[in-house]
Amino acid sequence: MDLSVNIGPLRLQNPVMTASGTFGYGREFAELTDLSRLGAIIVKGISLAPRPGNPPPRIIETACGMLNAIGLENVGVERFLTEKLPWLHQFATPVIVNILGDSVEEYAALAARLNDVEGIAALEVNISCPNVKRGGVAFGTVPETAAEVTRAVRAATSLPLIVKLSPNVTDITLMARAVEGAGADAISLINTLLGMAIDTRSRKPRLANVVGGLSGPAIKPVALRMVWQAAAAVSVPVIGIGGITTTEDALEFLMAGACAIQVGTANFFQPNATTTIVDGLAAYLEQQSLTSISQVVNSLRIDT
């Protein structure tokens, strides 16, 4: 039974990865999940300099989901390389570094810094960050700036390049095509939907940042629709993200055209959600008498 998948130049033992920001730097889950059984570990988004993140409250539960406004807190690339990455070398599991920046230059500098580092299998570019030079509009909501970031990172690294799309757009296929055209080896989606919650007792926003990113099972239908649209629009591999909690969920994304998936919020309430899905996919193949997970990918049947 073959669970392995190729994400462009990258080969994974199975299609199940951890979504950035929901699995720390891997170590946080080491006692609760068998890290060696994952398709890949995508670590918390890294910037050039350390970032303290937003003031609290940063998270709030919503109906079948949660809002977060962590504010991209991270230890910065240097501490990541000295304090976090080496511990992950003990596993054969590919490590994918999620990168973020305030400007095209920052993305490019980060990519260049990570290019020759051992033990990094690929970069995932988070383009949902505000473009500080352009009044804070997210890079990932304008095809041109998304392409610009992609091109700059592409030029700065020879690592496989995954560009992670924001769902807060009118037409996801425009974004997918823009970053494909700019050199992305693969596309992952979706990042969080922009949302908000109010504490009616204090009449204050429940997040200090007022708005935050909605994730979890609540967003799965939107994510699945966008993955299906994006997979039909580009020829590079698509990685599905958004509310994936069970094997069933993972299968939906694979059938919609994703060749791999990421588990995010589910890690928080089900720390072994990823390995449970790996087992579940294997069981599904067996039960369906299939030999390879690639037979599931894009197998959606639409009556016409």
């Binding site: 929901t22 006692e31 609760l32 940063r58 998270i59 979890g216």
Partner: protein, 258 residues
């Protein structure tokens, strides 16, 4: 640190007051590994609403039995009340950094509301250390119904318990912090868990008296594992502490009290 995710069998569900319950689990692994002040993350059922696990202090560890003391404040805790003997609960833990156990004695424990929960586990540990006579334990709550049973259990352990209630129905009529000043000069460490205003007051009292103080904090938590970075509290030195990993027990002077 050993952490586990397992389903544990409910041994007992006691209703201590209108909205206060105690859930006892047959949880040998947690019992063996837990330290006072640590917590667990509890999944409140199979439904995706509520979605996230709920954090609860480890209230008692007796043999292989782990008890949680909880107040019904929302839908997650309401679901927990429906559990009965034989049901199973999915728990992750023990998690976080607990109270210092081997600081210089004597020390005073101060608990308010559900902040009393971890103090029972801590008190039993103190007894085992047998560091001589301990100062009274100070416990506060809104009213007698929320406090009597718990206070009695500390008394049964052999502690002197001073109580305070907002309505004066048990012990001192007022804040539990008002009982502390008389005792502060006799202790070398204060360990406190309760609402933020209470802990802030205790921290100030200790600061003035130059007595070290440890506080056990609460924040919203998504993971309890140090992964989501959601559970921050502002640190005195600038930046943030992550309550689930750096805490929940922190030295009062690490915290930027606002």
């Amino acid at each position: 640190m050993a952490e586990f995710q397992e389903k544990y069998t409910v041994l007992r569900q006691e209703q201590l007051a209108d909205d206060i319950f105690r859930l006892s689990l047959d949880a040998p692994k947690i019992a063996a590994a837990a330290q006072p002040g640590q917590f667990v993350m509890v999944r409140t059922g199979e439904s995706l609403d509520p979605l996230l696990r709920r954090p609860f202090s480890i209230h008692k560890v007796i043999g292989e039995t782990v008890a949680l003391l909880y107040k019904v404040v929302g839908k997650g805790t309401r679901v927990l009340t429906s559990l009965g003997p034989g049901d199973s609960v999915d728990v992750v833990g023990p998690l976080g950094r607990g109270f210092d156990l081997d600081g210089p004695g004597p020390r005073c424990l101060v608990g308010g509301g559900m902040g009393i929960a971890p103090l029972y586990f801590l008190a039993r540990q103190i007894l085992q250390q047998d560091t001589g006579p301990n100062p009274p334990i100070l416990l506060g709550a809104r009213t007698r119904a929320e406090l009597q049973v718990l206070a009695d259990e500390f008394t049964e352990l052999g502690f002197v318990v001073l109580t305070a209630t907002d309505d004066g129905s048990l012990g001192h009529h007022g804040l539990v912090t008002e009982l502390l000043d008389d005792i502060l000069h006799r202790v070398r460490l204060v360990q406190v868990c309760g609402p933020v205003p209470m802990m802030r007051t205790v921290a100030r009292q200790c600061d003035r008296a130059r007595v070290p103080c440890q506080v056990s904090l609460e924040t919203h938590m998504a993971c309890g594992l140090g992964a989501c970075l959601g559970c921050t509290c502002p640190a005195r030195e600038g930046g943030y502490k992550h309550v689930c990993k750096d805490g929940p027990v922190l030295s009062a002077d690490e915290v930027a009290w606002i």
